[in-house]
Amino acid sequence: MKDASDRFEVRLAGSGGQGLILAGVILAEAVAIYDGRNAIQTQSYGPEARGGASKSEVIVSDGRIDFPKVMLADVLLALSQEACDTYFHGLKPKGLLVVDSDLVERAPTSKAVGVPVTKMAIEATGKAITANIVGLGLIGGLTSVVSRQALEKAVTERAPKGTAEMNLKALAAGWEKALEIKEASRSVRPGPRRRES
């Protein structure tokens, strides 16, 4: 059993109805079932089914996971200004911050990766509701926390009946965008996670 040093913490935060809890479940399933590693997913939400603050957390490790919640996040995906402001302080100094650039006007750091996540979702699938899956694609592409095949399988399994194809499109859009960002940062300037490496 490995120790906790390989522990990788992802926090997805925004508003109720953005599908962040489902996104967390999909990420955890991709890692734990299809990549054969270990993962735990937890969530917190308010009484509102739509609106209100919502947060989903995924801990990834190759070994046993004791504490099931984020201690200091390696990745924060923020789909609202409030979520970004609330959870930015819980991000590791070298952590990756991905924000929906249309929903988060004031990113707390210049290192933030701003992507119009919701707009991209509408462009890719015609539905804003797939923004959560675009976000997963972004996280997957920007980090090595999960393999693309695993994420695709998990999305296919979890997507509501008849929506798998649409969600795979959203995932691809996010993943490709991530590769673009990585490529650009490599050629122009150090990327957000490579700056100090």
Partner: protein, 374 residues
């Protein structure tokens, strides 16, 4: 071998109920326990069982006891406010010695509190929630797999000892999704309640027996007898005679007390040479494990005693494990409900409490600070 799955604690609890042979669920929706009802509403009719959403938690608990006396393994699931409403009938089940399982997915109280936030505030209520002296069994899972295993065990204990068994899941464990491999069916030990073998005219539903647990005949099986919440004699009829009340009271306590070593389970991690022992249960034990990893990296001798059974309290184990330790830390998402029990055994000077009642989990950092004496 079954396949690994990502499963929620509440879902695992429902799966455990089905694996244990549960055939009846009567409940009322309440956050954060509702998933259990939803799963069983789907699963029970598939196995020939019955799900009913009752008009409130009082009725739920009553229906569960009614179903159990009809011969079906029966359960309900709720959270704090509903658990409060169930207390009178939980006492009735203890008094009438009718097996039943009550799952309480604990949320922050008192009152409506914070419905989606975790707590361990119902630990003492599980012990003393219903009026009058009566024994009780309460289990506290700390993982999704344990939600499954302990629900199975809750049914087994309930049927074995004719007693209500409470499963105290905290919101974190209930809602958490974790990778689990459920044991295959043939590896799951399932106990059935003892049925009478004597002819109906000799049957005594509350008679003395070597195990102190008399057999229980279901209604409609040819054994006609009386059940009452009044103090009763061996045949089940009400009595005011002290010489009939006293042996009954003694027997229902003895049947648990004599078996504490079988019922009360704990898990230890590195307590043998520990100078500091952490006594924890539920999700907080996981924060403790995390803190211990860090502390051991700093060469601190810290051990964990994780309570899997809260009631009956594992007095002997706590005493044995904590005797040599210099300090005992009891972290809880309440203001020290189990700490009282630990202090009773090891003395309160040795005990350091770490408490939170704001609906957030106790962090490994907070426990580490206590280990380091900060």
């Amino acid at each position: 071998m079954t396949m690994p799955r990502m499963m929620q604690g509440n879902e695992a609890c429902a799966a455990g109920a089905i694996a244990a042979g549960c055939l009846f669920f009567g409940g009322y929706p309440i956050t954060p326990s509702t998933d259990i009802a939803e799963h069983l509403a789907r699963e029970l009719p598939r196995v020939g069982g019955v799900f009913i959403q009752m008009e409130d938690e009082i009725a739920s608990m009553a229906a569960v006891i009614g179903a159990s006396i009809g011969g079906a393994k029966a359960m309900t699931a709720t959270s704090g406010p509903g658990f409060s409403l169930m207390q009178e009938n939980i006492g009735y089940a203890a008094m009438t010695e009718v097996p039943c399982v009550v799952v309480n997915v604990m949320r922050l109280g008192p009152s409506t509190g914070r419905p989606t936030s975790p707590s361990q505030g119902d630990v003492m209520q599980a012990r003393w929630g219903s009026h009058g002296d009566h024994p009780i069994i309460a289990l506290a899972p700390a993982s999704v797999l344990e939600c499954f295993e302990m629900t199975v065990r809750a049914f087994n204990l309930s049927e074995r000892y004719r007693i209500p068994v409470i499963v105290l899941i905290d919101e974190v464990v209930g809602h958490m999704r974790e990778k689990v491999i459920l044991p295959p069916r043939e590896d799951i030990k399932v106990l059935e309640r003892l049925r009478p073998s004597e002819p109906p005219e000799w049957y005594k539903p509350y008679g003395s027996s070597p195990s102190d647990v008399p057999p229980l005949a279901p209604f409609g099986s040819g054994y006609r007898y009386h059940i009452t919440g009044l103090h009763h004699d061996e045949a089940g009829f009400p009595t005011n005679r002290v010489n009939e009340v006293r042996p009954w009271t003694r027997r229902i306590f003895r049947k648990i007390k004599a078996n504490v070593h079988r019922i009360a389970r704990c898990e230890t991690d590195g307590v043998e040479d520990a100078r500091t022992v952490i006594v924890a249960y539920g999700s907080v034990a996981r924060a403790a494990s995390e803190a211990i990893k860090t502390a051991r990296a700093k060469r601190r001798k810290v051990g964990l005693l994780r309570l899997q059974t809260l009631w009956p309290f594992p007095t002997r184990t706590v005493d044995a494990v904590c005797r040599e330790a210099r300090r005992v830390i009891v972290p809880e998402m309440n203001l020290g409900q189990m700490a009282i029990e630990v202090e009773r055994i090891v003395g309160d000077r040795k005990v350091r409490r770490v408490n939170r009642i704001d609906g957030e989990m106790i962090t490994p950092r907070e426990i580490l600070d206590a280990i380091e004496g900060k």
